[in-house]
Symmetry: C2
Subunit: 117 residues, 2 copies
């Protein structure tokens, strides 16, 4: 069964973008890291409803896609910091615009709607 492709060539890049950041947690994580490096445990606290397992997973994928950098200090107990890479930084303005767009376009949304459960 031959595989098929989307016709619009630009769609390709959009698909890829969504593969990279189009899920429940990644854009938020990137947003959080825009304030500077954060330790694993700190992110866990800032995102009170994410599970350890999923956070690990998301960070690993972001690291693989080179949007963030994982810095592991060789200490006991462990200390690991995550920060945005160059690639990650260049994504920030776009996320910011998206954020503004949402605020402008859906002024009625409230905190209520942004439950992360």
């Amino acid at each position: 069964m031959p595989r098929k492709y989307v016709e619009n060539p630009n769609a390709c890049t959009i698909v890829h973008a969504m593969n990279i950041i189009g899920n429940k947690w990644k854009p938020i994580i990137i947003y959080l890291l825009s304030g500077g490096p954060l330790r694993f445990g700190k992110i866990l606290v800032l995102l009170p409803t994410i599970s350890k397992k999923v956070l690990t997973q998301q960070l690993k994928e972001l690291d693989n896609d080179q949007l963030i950098i994982r810095k592991s200090y060789n200490e006991i107990p462990p200390r690991v910091e995550y920060e945005l890479s160059e690639k990650g930084l260049t994504l920030l303005p776009i996320l910011r615009e998206l954020s503004l767009w949402t605020a402008d376009t859906f002024p009625e949304i409230e905190f209520e709607k942004c439950r992360i459960e």
Copy 2:
């Protein structure tokens, strides 16, 4: 069990944005519609691997979120056209930037990677 919220207030809008367009098909559909209104059947042809059910679903959600407009002509056989709304149009430049970002940041990706299966 009390629900909790993300701390960063900006995250709220990002979460909402991702709820609206952060899935497999919606950004592509929006992209397709940037060329002008399209009939249901035409979209099905342009996205050879989407199923009728899912397309219906996605279009309904995009319509509910007022990113697109559904125009149903009272004819037999039915004719329904979908086109971008004002809100949808204002999203386009951002999608375009995201598209450029991906192309710049991951120059190595090829069509190969954009299989939609």
